[in-house]
Every structure is written in structure tokens, then in C-alpha cells.
């Protein structure tokens, strides 16, 4: 089980408290699809993904980004119980969605950059370290039920 220090929990909570889940989620997913275009393979039914502008403005991307980050919020509420919390979601990503877990790492890194651009200097090195640990742990939990 992953250990979280009091300071780490505080850094997670203080950043998360200021995050607009809809905006941030939309931006993270859009950037994933733009920076790593092969990830578009999972979103054939999303309509127009033909350019960065199209992707950023795509309502399905926005909606799904919000969904993904809302789920991330659940992880934050259950830091001491992540594998169980994400058990069904992990099975879904493996059995139904067929997503290579490497993509979770990519999205995690993108989320960090979105947070950095949003919070600028307030996204201190300590913040980044804690959040990189968090996205790593979340990615690991999501991959846990793969077989």
C-alpha cells in the first residue's frame, strides 16, 4: 500500500480544491489527443478530431475530459484504498476499452503540465513531486486488474 505523508495529502488537497474539474479535464484530454495523436484511436465516435482547434472545441472531448477528471477526484478521496476503488474501472479499461496502460501514464504527465500552466509558480517542485506520485499511483491502480 502506498504511504502518503501529511504534507503530500495537504499538497494534493490544496491543489485539487482550486481545480475546475470541467475545464481542467477538458484541457487534459484535449492535450492528450493533440500531443499524442495515436490516443485518438480510442475515440473514433467523437466526431471531428482533425486539428488542435477542432479537438479543443469538440463537445464530446470536453464532456469525456470532465468524466475522467471527476473519476480522478474519486481516487483522491480514496487514497488509502485505490486498488479497490478502481477495481471495476480497471476491468473496464482492460476488457471493454482495450486501453494500453501506458496511456494512463501519458495522461498523467499531461495533467501535470495542465496544472503547471494553470497554477504557474504556485505549482512548486514539491507540488509537482506529490502529483507525479499521485498520477503514477492512479495509473498503477487502473492497470491492476489487467490480465
Amino acid at each position: 500500500m502506498v504511504h502518503w505523508s501529511a504534507e503530500e495529502k495537504q499538497l494534493i488537497a490544496s491543489v485539487w480544491g482550486k481545480v475546475n474539474v470541467e475545464e481542467c479535464g477538458a484541457e487534459a484530454l484535449a492535450r492528450l489527443l493533440i500531443v499524442y495523436p495515436w490516443t485518438q484511436r480510442f475515440f473514433d465516435n467523437f466526431g471531428n478530431l482533425s486539428s488542435p482547434t477542432a479537438i479543443v472545441g469538440n463537445p464530446k472531448v470536453r464532456a469525456h475530459g470532465k468524466k475522467v477528471l471527476t473519476s480522478f477526484g474519486e481516487a483522491i478521496k480514496n487514497l488509502d484504498n485505490l486498488k479497490v476503488t478502481y477495481s471495476k474501472l480497471s476491468e473496464l479499461h482492460c476488457d471493454k476499452l482495450h486501453v494500453d496502460p501506458e496511456n494512463f501514464r501519458l495522461l498523467g504527465d499531461i495533467l501535470i503540465i495542465v496544472l503547471a500552466a494553470h497554477f504557474t509558480k504556485d505549482f512548486t517542485p514539491a507540488c509537482q513531486a506529490t502529483w507525479q506520485k499521485l498520477v503514477g499511483v492512479v495509473a498503477h491502480a487502473l492497470a491492476h486488474k489487467y490480465h
Binding site: 492535450r31 500531443v35 494553470h118 504557474t120 517542485p125 513531486a129
Partner: protein
């Protein structure tokens, strides 16, 4: 790999941080050491405290090398040839794709911190591609 548009964007980003390149280098390294402690194993001879002269000096070196790469986007292999030899035969930062990716991530976080909203998705994509291209060249001679 890098389109004409990507190259333009990389130049734009570089211009935007031209005034604080030394800080950017030092900050990227510092973030890397804090966030990915395994990277410290390559610097047992360094003082890795915040603000250390060695980190500043090394950050400046790294950014200068990246700056050289930016000036030679059409010929990265040749421009980075010496550095490629150094990383392959002397430094042996291993595995090349992985460890250099960690520096790339931290470098991009610093760009995002400095540029905020101006670090657009298009710039992000171009810089990510550029850093991948640099890492690939540095790894060319590994085996």
C-alpha cells in the same frame, strides 16, 4: 518528424524564455531531482541542494545544448553528435528513452510554469516532439 509548423513553434517557445534560460535549466533539473529521485544517481558528485551552484551551472549547460538543438532543427543528429557520444560512452544514462523522458517532462513543466496559458496545446505538442527527437539522437549510439 518535426513539421515546419512544429519548428516555428519551438522557436517561438525558445524566444519566450530567452531572458531566463539559466533559471529554466536549473529549475528543470531541480524538479527532476525532487520528483524523480532515481535521477540523482547520476550526480553523486553534485551538491543537489536548492540553489546549488552546480545545479545552476549544469542547468545552464543543458539549456545551452538544447538551444543549439533549436538552432539546428534540420540537422539534429550532427548538431548533437558530440553530446550523443558523451551520453552513450561516458555518461551512460540508462535507459536512454526513460531517464531523458523524465528530464523532458520536468523541462515542459517549467515552460508551463513560466508561460502559463501561453503554453498552448500546439506548443506543448511541438516541444514534446522536439524533446523526443533530442532524446532519440542522444540515444543513437548506445548500442
Amino acid at each position: 518528424m518535426l513539421t515546419a509548423e512544429d519548428k516555428k513553434l519551438v522557436h517561438q517557445v525558445w524566444d519566450k524564455v530567452s531572458g531566463c534560460q539559466e533559471e529554466v535549466g536549473a529549475e528543470a533539473l531541480e524538479r527532476m531531482f525532487i520528483t524523480f529521485p532515481q535521477t540523482k544517481t547520476y550526480f553523486p558528485h553534485f551538491d543537489l541542494h536548492h540553489g546549488s551552484d552546480q545545479i545552476r551551472g549544469h542547468g545552464k549547460k543543458v539549456v545551452a545544448a538544447l538551444g543549439n538543438a533549436v538552432k539546428n532543427l534540420d540537422n539534429l543528429s550532427q548538431a548533437l553528435s558530440e553530446l550523443s557520444n558523451l551520453h552513450a560512452y561516458n555518461l551512460r544514462v540508462d535507459p536512454p528513452r526513460f531517464a531523458l523522458q523524465l528530464l523532458s517532462q520536468c523541462f515542459q513543466v517549467v515552460l508551463a510554469v513560466h508561460l502559463g496559458k501561453d503554453y498552448t496545446p500546439e506548443m506543448h505538442a511541438a516541444v514534446d516532439k522536439f524533446m523526443s527527437a533530442v532524446a532519440a539522437v542522444l540515444a543513437e549510439k548506445y548500442r
